[in-house]
Amino acid sequence: EAEVAQSPRYKITEKSQAVAFWCDPISGHATLYWYRQILGQGPELLVQFQDESVVDDSQLPKDRFSAERLKGVDSTLKIQPAELGDSAMYLCASSQPSRDTGELFFGEGSRLTVL
């Protein structure tokens, strides 16, 4: 069964360091999402791609966060410098272009702890 791949699963870093997360969506899924989920809260959209183009990055803290999907397939989310408040689960999801089914497929997530 096709899955969304994410790495690393866990990352512990010190504040002010740089971190990067990688996501490989399900083949053929043109739409890719990066979400941040703080414990006890719902996912918060950071950035949405349609192919290689950013559709929505209004909630992305652009002073420290960046995301790219250069070839319209896999994607990288970077944080530099990391802050204590960035500790969270970073979820990647993908969906088919029309998304008539409404279904997002999520990866296992990357749990970040900033010390």
């Binding site: 719902g42 979820l91 279904e103 997002l104 296992e108």
Partner: protein, 109 residues
Amino acid sequence: EDKVVQSPLSLVVHEGDTVTLNCSYEVTNFRSLLWYKQEKKAPTFLFMLTSSGIEKKSGRLSSILDKKELFSILNITATQTGDSAVYLCAGDSNYQLIWGAGTKLIIKP
């Protein structure tokens, strides 16, 4: 501002009980209401609801949408310990999902 509110925030019941989880929404350009189950990792899709009054069912889980009163419920009958999870609902606002904070459901054996 778009928002989705879930209640209760947490719920503890015994195995075999029936539970009802609530989701109210205020979402512009509303397209659908989605339910996801999140165990210790990523959310997994349960239902998508677009029409009022039409129940969607999958095994012991069912869900219905009321577009007049702007809410949805998720029912789980004959609960099992494997149903323990966080249940998330999200409103689709023209392909942008607005998420609730989730209901943490704990099923005691």
